[in-house]
């Protein structure tokens, strides 16, 4: 070796390795300390992790579930029903906020001054008001003010009433609306709140992405006779996607996490079920671990999908 004559502390290959090993060791010691500490304290408090309670009957009801659930079913079924409720609002929220965000983001490039300023006002107002307040607003001020019965707001194929939102062919039977599909106003308020809030952030991401496309692209398209809408759809947006997708990823993840504010408007999501479970069982550590794990898995899944999409839209060097 060329470094044979050097003392070890001047060995350029050994030193980085030693530093890494040292840091690694320090991390290991810290983790070991935290784990032993946790186990010791939990043992002292008689709270060693146990999961058998998951099989006990839950004893509480959930208002609105896709998975059938009643109070006689075990806790894990309740948590699962809560998870499905969370996923339902997250998936619909992702679709809705993407549509709204793309609309608002592209509207800020519109030649129409009214449309442009509407988009700006929407983004600025929504981005700067806390989401929790917005959810309370949508629920108590908007959705709970809906009239009931025949006074309900009727749009062909959709009825908005305080007793719920009815889709399909709603009809009034004995003063009560009935339809093939019904969602609660709680769900409606949460979904609206999340879509409107996340949509404002996505609008900014889209605006940034579109602005990143060189002005020459617009001009070239125009000289070729493309209309502004055609330019946007066929030339600018495909190129803007490269800048949009990474930013979109973090907005999607935020939406999934923000869905845990559901309890503010009475919707029973995973967090709400977990909180009830925690109160009934006193298994705080286990329930929090389940919560952490669930949201982690949801967010990592979104991330993985978005990273795949990101690779698809990147420039391919050949």
């Amino acid at each position: 070796m060329a470094t044979a004559g050097l003392p070890w502390w001047r060995n350029r290959r050994l030193i980085p390795w030693l530093v890494q090993a040292g840091v690694g060791l320090a991390v290991l010691v810290l983790v070991a300390f935290l784990v032993t500490n946790l186990v010791r304290n939990l043992t002292a408090a008689g709270l060693l992790l146990s999961w058998s309670w998951l099989d006990n009957p839950a004893g509480f009801d959930i208002a609105e579930t896709w998975l059938p659930f009643d109070a006689g079913l075990p806790y894990w079924r309740g948590l699962l029903a809560g998870l499905v409720n969370t996923l339902r609002v997250v998936v619909l929220g992702l679709v809705g906020s993407t549509l709204l965000g793309t609309l608002a983001g592209t509207a800020s490039f519109s030649g129409n001054a009214l449309l442009r300023s509407l988009a700006r006002v929407y983004v600025e107002v929504i981005r700067n008001v806390p989401l929790l307040l917005q959810l309370v607003f949508w629920y108590f001020v908007v959705f709970l003010q809906l009239p009931n019965g025949s006074a309900a707001i009727q749009i062909p194929g959709l009825v908005l009433a305080k007793s719920g939102l009815y889709l399909g062919q709603p009809e009034l039977v004995n003063g009560v609306w009935q339809a093939s599909m019904r969602v609660s106003v709680e769900f409606g308020a949460l979904l609206t709140g999340l879509v409107v809030y996340t949509g404002a952030f996505i609008a900014e991401v889209v605006r940034g992405g579109v602005a990143a496309v060189p002005a020459g692209q617009w001009e070239a398209a125009r000289s070729l006779g493309f209309s502004p809408l055609q330019t946007l759809r066929s030339i600018v947006l495909p190129q803007a996607l490269r800048a949009i997708v990474p930013g979109l990823n973090s907005q999607y993840i935020s939406l999934a996490k923000n869905s845990s504010l559901a309890v503010a408007c009475g919707y029973t999501d995973l967090y709400s079920v977990a909180e009830t479970t925690l109160n009934q069982t006193g298994r705080a550590v286990e329930v929090v671990l389940i919560l952490l794990g669930s949201y982690l898995v949801i967010d990592l899944t979104i991330s993985a999908l978005m990273n795949g999409l990101n690779q698809l839209v990147q420039l391919k060097e050949r």
């Binding site: 010691v29 304290n41 009801d61 009643d70 503010a264 009830t276 925690l278 109160n279």
Partner: protein, 353 residues
């Protein structure tokens, strides 16, 4: 590596040894909590804060109510001064975590005494004597025409999450084989707001809570509490299981309120009673109770005359009840089960001896 591992294992032990409570100098009782509170100079008490008659913040920022008076009684027992309390508002889902983490010393927040909350394998609380025997009820608007639980079939019912109420409702409705929609909210404010907005045709909680909340409705007379009683709800103050000496101090402070009522000691006559006890050595029971003789206070880690301090500060149990929730208050709740045992109620203090 072995050395490191041993070090890692030893560190928490060292830390704990450093933190474990020391025996008090005079060798009387050992309680981390009691010494911590005394060193701090004030009691931290977890209350609801939004429940008229039980714990409510007035326009001037001062707390009042039955639960609040229990906190004040404990502060008076410790310091001879009922104002040495810091109140923390807790919602029903926060309360046990706040107590377990030591954020509050005492939880006096209309909490139902249940097995799973008491058990070491459950929430691990230690309950003081019940200060209010309650039962769960259902409130509906008069206009709804609902008379019994059966009428609630298929209807949405508002309930606060993290309460025994939520479970009792599920149990009773299952027994009646009646489907319903539970709408759960995290705070009482949200629950009652949704009810008043007409999202639910009924709201369920402890009957005393319903009576209390109704007083703050725009039109209290338009709402009725159904006669059905869904459950037993003994509302009790609570401390953590891990500190029995502190739990005993709280327990006997509450008993002192009840005993004082039983033997007719009131805020007004407590000084006269002390004089009477000091004058006559024949009144042994009274002398021990008021700390003129004996060492009851010391046994609990409290001042010898803690009973006198408590009654002087907040009165006896009956006075507290009447002042906050009784027929003279806006809540107008009858004593009912909360009468003294000699009047056929459940308020019963074990002997002070």
């Amino acid at each position: 590596m072995a050395l490191l591992r041993r070090l890692a294992a030893a560190l928490p032990l060292l830390a704990s040894l450093a933190l474990v409570g020391c025996a008090s100098d005079d060798g009387t009782i050992q309680s981390q909590k009691l010494s911590a509170i005394k060193a701090r100079g004030s009691l931290i008490c977890g209350v609801d804060g939004k429940s008229p008659g039980f714990s409510f913040v007035g326009p001037d920022g001062s707390y009042s109510g039955l639960d609040v008076d229990v906190c004040k009684a404990v502060a008076a027992a410790l310091f001879g001064d009922p104002t040495k309390v810091d109140f923390r508002d807790l919602n029903s889902s926060e309360r046990f975590a706040a107590l377990a983490s030591g954020e509050v010393d005492l939880l006096s927040r209309n909490t139902t005494y249940t097995l799973s909350r008491d058990a070491a394998g459950g929430n691990g609380l230690s309950f003081a004597p019940t200060v209010f025997y309650d039962g769960q009820g259902v409130m509906v608007p008069n206009a709804s025409g609902i008379k019994t639980l059966k009428d609630l079939a298929g209807k949405p019912i508002c309930v606060e999450t993290g309460t025994t109420t939520e479970l009792n409702l599920a149990d009773r409705m299952r027994e009646l084989n009646t489907a319903y929609t539970p709408l759960k909210f995290q705070t009482g404010d949200q629950t009652y707001a949704a009810y008043l907005q007409g999202r639910c045709v009924a709201v369920t909680s402890d009957r005393s809570q319903l009576a209390a909340k109704r007083t703050s409705f725009p039109d209290p007379a338009a709402h009725t509490v159904l006669p059905d009683v869904l459950s037993k709800e003994p509302l009790s103050p609570a401390t953590v299981n891990a500190d029995p000496a502190w739990a005993d101090a709280v327990r006997w402070t509450v008993y002192a309120l009840m005993q004082a009522e039983e033997i007719g000691i009131t805020q007004a006559n407590v000084d006269a009673k002390v004089a009477e006890a000091k004058a006559s050595t024949n009144l042994a029971d009274l002398r021990r109770f008021l700390g003129v003789e004996g060492d009851f206070g010391q046994q609990l880690g409290l001042p010898a005359n803690f009973v006198v301090q408590v009654v002087k500060a907040v009165g006896n149990y009956g006075e507290i009840f009447e002042r906050n929730v009784g027929t003279g208050s806006p809540l107008k709740i009858e004593r009912g089960l909360n009468r003294q045992w000699k009047q056929g109620g459940l308020i019963y203090s074990p002997p002070f001896r």
